[in-house]
Amino acid sequence: MKLLERLLDRTRGAFAEGKRLHRTKPVFDAAENFFFAPISRAKSAPFVHDPLDIKRLMSMVIIAILPALACAVYFFGLHVLAMVVVSYAAGGIVEVLFAVVRKEEINEGFLVTGMLFPLILPPALPLWMVAVGVMFGVLVGKELFGGTGRNLFNPALVGRVFLALAYPAAMAGNWISPVAEPPGRILQYVSSGAVDAIAGATPLAAAKQGQLAGLQEMFLGNVAGSAGETSALAILLGGILLIMTRVASWRIVVGVLGSFLLMETVLHYTLPGPIPPPMWQLLAGGILFGAFFMATDPVTSPATTGGKWAYAIIIGLATALIRHLTGYVEGVMFAILLGNICAPLLDEVAVAVRLRRLAHES
């Protein structure tokens, strides 16, 4: 520890103003602050501060994703880990590049995007596609808007939409059939070349042909699908931790899932044709993962309470409608992006209401 501190102290000079390495100072700062929290003193009132900081907020999200990641590795093999590494590396390059160009600090928000992105992809997707997708997502979804805190859309979802439109075949076919018996696929590396391990369809796609996967299978994760969404149990574990620690807004989660279930119930009893029951729909596909980890992103969701409810309901309803009334099998991705577009408008309305209430106070 002391050694590391001394090493950092010694190398700091090389990044000073006017030195050759000065342009890459954000990289050095990020590395330094990764190991040692900076000395930062309050200059004016208030002189004390709450211990909550963005770094901890982000590490909290990553901890909450870990169960889902572990399930993905267990059921689909080590390729998922490789996807995470590639996603971090490729997305990290874009993030660092922009930090250097803009002479800003490197933000840790990327660490969450880089982790979420591979988990919403088919688990056997070629690694180069993961790299292209995350670079597009970070670049267009975040950096072009001005970086962390200013983006309109969830960068991971922007990356996924790009992949889904650019490589529709790869994005619809690279599912892996899971192995439930211990040790699962935990020691295997299944990529798109392994024909025998590739599954034909996800539960949602199979349901359109009239084949329903078992509820217990889906709850534990023994079904084909995107890497992170496979096990409802793991998502609930992480998601409930996020809500208990108040990193994710419970209003959004409850709103999304509630309105989704409601819409599914209505559709189940009114639409002709085989529509699986609502509880089945809840466990199938990405609705749980989306509700807990994607829709709750504070930057791209509304900031006001009223706005949050409306936003959550839009996402829940849109997901159900896209699933059953369009050609798409899964609708969470588009539904959340739709919610993201609406978020500023919803905030505007909620603020106007709030201001009317404040108008009489002197």
Partner: protein
């Protein structure tokens, strides 16, 4: 309006309930400035020997509030810049801190209201009054629409109102009576804690039968002792010629002393607390008390930040300030951050208590923390987490204001009610991105006021 937001800040270093009387010093260094006042009009000459209670200087821009000589001494004008020094101070007559055998009610017909108000001004009791909306000194000869008397002091480490009340309940109720004689039929709102405390019960008993005093119970959460918040809570609107007067416990006691006993208000009960104070306590000191003597042995060694006021809304004591100023509520000592935490962000947070209950503090009970000046994190862009909005007692949206001010759109910020900010500092306290919201709002409000004044000045000649 309902009371909303607010926070009980749990911190180690609260002053204990006893009051210590300090010995009179040999020299007094009276600062010619304080938070609200600038005593620019000197009333004594160099070398004058002054009696206690003599007016040494006045603040012409604040209705001429006087700076009084707390003790007999010889004036030195230029010994220390921005200070007036009293040398060879003779010790005062010790007075009991507790209620003495004075009558518990005020005698009738003690002169006209104008005379009384003049007396308040001259005897140094008027400085304890605030305009609830602006925080400025109200006009002593104006008519208020109401008076707010707060017995609470909810900022951590500051002098507690109950400490002063306990010994002086009789003077306090007599002071409330005196306030009534200054008014016509305006209500007096007495702010009491919304908890079952013996003392609050005693106060309620003591004021039973005073029809004009209305007890108001508020939760013990910072900043519900803030006069602006209280005025809004009570529905008292800002009116041009009818301000809301506000004062704290010590103000009522000072007023009683000036009007009942006709003595100058020379002593203040202040707190010396904070995480870096060795023995947090209340002390009785007079304005001008040398800070060096006052703070020696009461503050821990090592780098320490000494604040005038509380940790959330106080100010750093200027390096050239030598003596206690006449408005000081308390002195807070806060250790400077010196250590860097190794791999800080992976620590689960079992040893810290967070307002937002992030990490493990969600799973444990509240605990007092030993805090330093560390802002505990890095500056980051706002992520609209909404914690500032949740804690804001004024009910405004700090994150939205921040975004508007970031765009330099002051006009829009005023439209979203930047003017309602009470500068409690809680938004900056909780912000995970460590944005100095409170400071930003203060600066913006100042700019706005300047622009308004310029605007008015331009319109006046036409």
């Amino acid at each position: 309006m309902k009371l909303r937001g607010g926070y009980t800040v749990q911190m180690a270093g609260k002053p204990v309930g006893s009051v210590e009387v300090l010995p009179d010093p040999d020299e007094l260094y009276l600062p010619l400035f304080s938070r609200r006042f600038r005593f620019t009009e000197l009333c004594v000459g160099d070398g004058d020997r002054v009696r206690p209670g003599k007016v040494l200087a006045r603040d012409p821009s604040n209705h001429g509030v006087p700076l009084l000589a707390p003790r007999e001494g010889t004036v030195r004008l230029n010994a220390i810049p921005r200070h007036l020094v009293l040398q060879n101070v003779s010790a005062g007559v010790p007075e009991p801190l507790e209620d003495s055998d004075e009558p518990s009610h005020i005698p009738r017909n003690l002169g006209s209201v104008e005379m009384k108000r003049n007396k308040l001004l001259l005897l140094g009791a008027w400085q304890y009054f605030f305009d609830a909306h602006s925080g400025a000194l109200p006009n002593p000869f104006g008519t208020p629409q109401a008076v707010i008397v707060s017995t609470l002091n909810l900022e951590p480490f500051l002098g507690r109102g109950d400490v002063q009340l306990r010994a002086r309940l009789k003077s306090f109720t007599r002071g409330l009576e005196q306030i009534q004689t200054l008014l016509e039929y305006q209500p007096i709102f007495l702010i009491l804690p919304k908890v079952a405390a013996a003392l609050a019960e005693q106060v309620s008993q003591a004021i039973r039968g005073y029809a004009h005093i209305k007890p108001v119970h508020v939760p013990l959460r910072y900043p519900f002792d803030n006069f602006t918040v209280l005025a809004r809570y009570l529905g008292l609107k800002r009116q041009k010629d009818q301000p809301v007067w506000a004062l704290r416990t010590e103000g009522v006691l000072a007023l009683d002393r000036a009007l009942t006993a006709s003595k100058p208000c020379d002593l203040r009960v202040i707190s010396i607390g904070g995480p870096a104070a060795t023995s947090p306590a209340h002390v009785v000191a007079m304005p001008g008390y040398p800070l060096k003597t006052l703070l020696s042995k009461r503050i821990a060694d090592g780098p320490v930040r000494v604040l005038n006021g509380g940790v959330l809304s106080g100010q750093e004591i200027a390096p050239d300030q030598a003596g206690l100023d006449c408005e000081c509520l308390g002195i807070t000592a806060l250790g400077e951050q010196t250590e860097r935490e190794f791999l800080a962000f992976v620590r689960p947070g079992a040893g810290r208590w967070s307002y937002s209950r992030c990490f493990l503090s969600a799973l444990r009970r509240p605990m007092p923390e030993r805090m330093t000046t560390a802002i505990r994190g890095e500056h980051r862009p706002c992520v609209s987490c909404g914690f500032c909005e949740e804690i804001c007692p004024a009910g405004i949206m700090p994150h939205l204001l921040h975004k508007l001010l970031y765009q330099d759109d002051l006009e829009a910020a005023i439209k979203v009610r930047l003017d309602l900010c009470v500068a409690c500092g809680l938004c900056s306290f909780v912000c995970p991105s460590k944005i100095d919201l409170c400071g930003q709002f203060q600066k913006a409000m100042e700019t706005f006021r300047m622009e308004q004044m310029e605007h008015m000045a331009q319109e006046a000649p036409a």
